[in-house]
Amino acid sequence: MSEKKTILVVEDDQDILSTLKIFLESEDYHTLTAENGFEAMKLMETHSLPNLILLDMKMPVMDGWQFAIEFISKHDHLCPIVVMTAAADAEQRAKDISAIGWVAKPFKLDELLKTIKRFEKQPNAT
């Protein structure tokens, strides 16, 4: 289990969230899920930092922008963030919160996997 990389998925749409969980686990990832930024921040209090965060932008309670600000101020850039956004200017949205990568909704699972593989933090890296 400890060799598995962990991905934190923050997404308010339950169907997207559960589909991603099933998919990522089928790709041999360990997943943590949160329905908004606030839940994700709480989760990070009790778990070690994941290898990558998949972050939705528009969510109730605490959105992706707010989460990114709080997360980075607390953990610096120790964990790569990939933005999943339905915004027309996905790339700009990613830059706005200094995320390392982005996927534009709707996206293909293969495409998502490629992006994850490209940016995920290696377990041996510090």
Binding site: T19, K58, P60, K105, L109
Partner: protein, 527 residues
């Protein structure tokens, strides 16, 4: 006393004053002097009969000396007019005045009517009595000078003056003339007074430095920069727009044109300011600019709305697509499609359908082509129906319904009001924790019916509340995003309630939850 061609003795003292002429001079030159005099001289006896008239008198009166001799002042052939052109009463003839009062009479202007002459000959008359040694009236001397030219000029001037005055008063522009170098206002026309807000009777002694003027941006003009001031003190012409504050503090936008008035030697005699009240035009221009900005803003927001709407559609499309992709992968690995995935696909396609319908509604509402169909509806039943529907869809979420009547017949568009209640319930369920209850209220008052949906969620900040029901075409982009974020439902709900003549609103405090409500008027909505 000297002899004259008519054999009559004239007392020259009366005519010239004794001290002015020597006796020898009088003897030799009197005749030619009298005849060449540019003053008409007529001497009457105490009964007003004419004893003597000189050549100029004959010329001015338009009658020969022979005809004049012995004629009384009461003779009907004398035709005089006074200054306003009406016949001069006989007792106001200079000779008659003196005859009656026995006193001299000076500076009377009268017009002599001469047949076949188109205007009176105007003369300035002096009449003097002459007494015998026993104080009895002996004769009356009348002398008169031709002042026709002066009178005609005076008439012309007053006519011009009246025209000028009329023109000035008819002018829509305010006209002010101020003296140089005092700066005191010596003339202001009617329009000027009105614009300035001056009382009609107010005396014109105000100094132009008391006129408070402001640049269009509201900062006051320094006195020495005001157009009229510059005209008077610098000889400069200028056209400027400025704000004038009248004594009643009403602000008016003026267009002013100031220029110096020069004396023939080129020095400045006065300054003239012609100013036009362009407040209305200015306001119109401002309104136009505002309207254009608003329309540009609306266009911008509409396109922004499309961006946001597309954004909003992408979420369920993503969920739908991911579910399909996963199902495909499963099928590829020999895992069959389960009914749970299918119902999720169904739900997402419902969500997409609802969004599309909402977007169509918004578009129709924005174009004002939505009509409501009123029908008699039992409101308690309608609310109950909607509530039960949501209980089913939300895993039996606690929804309570409190009402102050068991039934209410009301004239509404059943489908649209159901849509509104359903929107409010949908938001309450979506944005609050599952463990918290939702309370529907129905409050019936004599004037209105209030339906409310209360939740115990995070609440909505006052700032966000303002834009919650906002039109798509108003507010900033951020607000639009927020509106669309709530599934367009609140905007559509507001419009639907407004179509019923009602109002929609929210009472909310951060951390305490929100109550969304709508009021329907009973008078129009109820049967």
């Amino acid at each position: 006393m000297v002899a004259n061609p008519y054999g009559y003795k004239i007392n020259l003292k009366i005519i010239f004053g004794t001290k002015l002429v020597s006796k020898s001079y009088m003897k030799v030159e009197l005749h030619s002097l009298l005849e060449n005099l540019s003053v008409g001289v007529v001497v009457h006896d105490s009964t007003t009969a004419i004893l003597f008239a000189n050549q100029m008198a004959s010329n001015l009166l338009g009658i020969s000396r022979e005809e004049m001799k012995g004629k009384f002042s009461t003779d009907p052939s004398w035709k005089f007019v006074n200054e306003n052109g009406s016949p001069l009463p006989i007792n106001e003839f200079p000779v008659n005045r003196v005859c009656i009062s026995k006193r001299e009479f000076k500076n009377q202007i009268l017009g002599i009517i001469i047949p076949n002459q188109d205007h009176p000959t105007w003369v300035l008359c002096h009449a003097y009595p002459e007494f015998k040694t026993n104080q009895e009236l002996s004769q009356i001397v009348v002398n008169f000078t031709d002042v026709t030219k002066e009178i005609q000029l005076r008439e012309k001037t007053s006519e011009l003056n009246a025209l000028f005055q009329a023109a000035m008063d008819q002018s829509q522009a305010g006209i002010v003339i101020a003296d140089a170098p005092s700066g005191n206002i010596k003339y202001i026309n009617q329009a000027g007074r009105l614009i300035r807000g001056l009382n009609q009777d107010l005396k014109i002694n105000e100094n132009i430095s008391h006129w408070q003027k402001y640049y269009l941006n509201g900062t006051p003009y320094p006195v020495n920069k005001m157009p009229l001031h510059r005209a008077i003190y610098e000889g400069k012409k200028s056209i400027e727009e400025f704000i004038l504050k009248s004594p009643n503090q009403k602000e008016k936008v003026m267009m002013g044109n100031a220029a110096p008035i020069l004396k023939p030697d080129g020095s400045i005699m006065a300054g003239i300011l012609i100013f036009l009240d362009i407040t209305e035009r200015h306001q119109l221009e401002k309104d136009l600019i505002k309207a254009r900005e608003e329309s540009e803003n609306a266009t911008h927001l509409k396109s922004h709305f499309l961006d946001v709407a597309a954004h909003e559609l992408r979420t369920p499309v993503t969920a739908f697509s991911l579910l399909l992709q996963l199902t495909q992968r499963n099928l590829d690995h020999g895992i069959p499609v389960d009914s749970k995935t299918l119902s999720r696909l169904n739900a997402q396609s419902d969500r997409i359908a609802k969004l599309v319908i909402d977007l169509l509604d918004v578009s129709r509402l924005e174009h004002g082509i939505v009509k409501i169909k009123l029908e008699v509806t039992e409101l308690v039943e309608l609310i109950t129906e909607c509530m039960e529907d949501f209980k089913l869809r939300s895993n039996n979420r606690t929804i309570e319904f409190s009402k102050n009547a068991s039934t209410l017949m009301i004239n509404i568009d059943r489908v649209r009001i159901y849509q509104v209640i359903s929107n409010l319930l949908d938001n309450a369920i979506k944005y609050t924790l599952e463990s918290t209850p939702i309370e529907i209220g129905l409050e019936i008052n004599p004037e209105k019916v209030r339906v409310s949906v209360k939740d115990y969620g995070a609440g909505i900040s006052e700032k966000a509340q303002k834009n919650l029901f906002g039109a798509i075409t108003r507010g900033t982009g951020e607000e639009v995003e927020h509106t669309v974020g709530l599934g367009l439902g609140l905007y559509i709900s507001r419009k639907m309630i407004e179509l019923h003549g009602g109002t929609i609103g929210i009472e909310s405090k951060l951390g305490k939850g929100s109550t969304f409500y709508f009021d329907l008027p009973r008078k129009t909505a109820e049967i």
